[in-house]
Amino acid sequence: MSAEGRIFSALVAKDLKTIWRRPTQIAATIGFAVLSVIVASFAFRQIGYTQADLLAVTPGIIWLVFLFTGVVALNYSFLPEYEDRALEGVLRASGSPATVYLAKWTTNYLFIAVVLLAVLGAHGLFFGADLSASLALMITIALITAIGFVALGTLLAAVAVVHRERELILPLVLFPLLIPLLAGAVFVTRELLSHGSIDLSGFWFVLICVFDIVSLAVSTVLFEHVAAS
């Protein structure tokens, strides 16, 4: 394994260990996701939505809940480094900022993937969304969408973490950038839930893929300027 590869896997292992040692954080984030789904379910039933109506809004709710939960989770991703002033040390010890970024991206991605599964599960339970028929495809789409979300989210979390108002800044900066991705994800999810399959060469699916690639590439390049002091 190359030197960069060793640094990469060491960083990922370190971050995973940090997450593992704070199980309350995982539990709280998943709890937040499930709670949001329940609250949304109540809100829509309260205005007289039937089960069929609920299914029609499911694609939107899934991604809305995911967006809010994801931003809460990402807010914490650089907090330990910031509080202990460890990011500079990590950057100095390791090779390139790109490696540090990609390692952070990997752990954030794994964490977000778990959150996503919780969101989907909660939808199946409390929203009556029948995801079982196309579960594998649904999870695949969710994981593909998460690539771009985590790419921009990790970059901007590093920007937001030094500010006192970080909980406000991250969504304010991140959400407008994510609108194309969100629109694509909602469209593809709706297509999947109503037809049971998706059009792989359709505009929105291609948009999601292009967004993933561009945001991951741009963020990897720009992270150096955010992190280097």
């Binding site: 901007l156 030094v162 800044i169 950038l177 741009v218 720009l222 300027h225 002091s229």
Partner: protein
Amino acid sequence: MQIRKFVNSEFLTSSIWGTRIIPAAAACLVMAALVIVFLVVPNERVMGAVQRIFYFHVGSAMACYAMIVLLLIGSSFYLATRENAWDAIAEAGAFVAFVFASIVLLTGSIWGHSAWNTWWRWEPRLVSFLILWLLLFSYVLLRQFSSGAERAGAFAAVLGILIALNVPVVIFSIKLLSHAEQLHPEVVAQRGLRDWRFILGLVVSNVALIAAALWLWWLRLTGSVIEHSIRLSGLKAHSLARS
């Protein structure tokens, strides 16, 4: 290029460009645009007088894009050279771009109210411009939150580049759907300006609003450079008094 030679309070407050030429040009051009748009350009056949808002709507959008070009240049050079002058250029560009983007949304809504009988429609051009406005808004907020913070310039520069990447999306969003599916007109590409007076009005108002934006940018740049130097001299005086 030695950017600091130009972006300092002495040059910005004394240069003939900023104190005479650009303000005078902006004032004359805006007056000329008003005269042409309201007195020379004939009434549009279908929409009547309301169509005249089009000149300020498109002109403000062009001024907004011009300022985002300055934002992109300032942000990229700041990341490359770490000269505060580039950061000030980008910041001033973003602030003025935000003002003009707000004007675009406002005039567009007024126009839409009389042309489409609605203040807002969810279609590609409108939505993508709203996203641009939101991004500029968050840039301005980030600046306010992080004034004086370490590395604030680098963060803002990163966001500035991401904003500039969004502009081509806005410009080409209109090609996303066919003409039957959306309402936002594509006047110039559709050769909608059949009378030379329409074209004159459009060109003059575009140039006038870009000149006005440049002047506002110059003022904002001067303001932030002076603010920076005051803060710096205050720090210096403080450390002198302590030693």
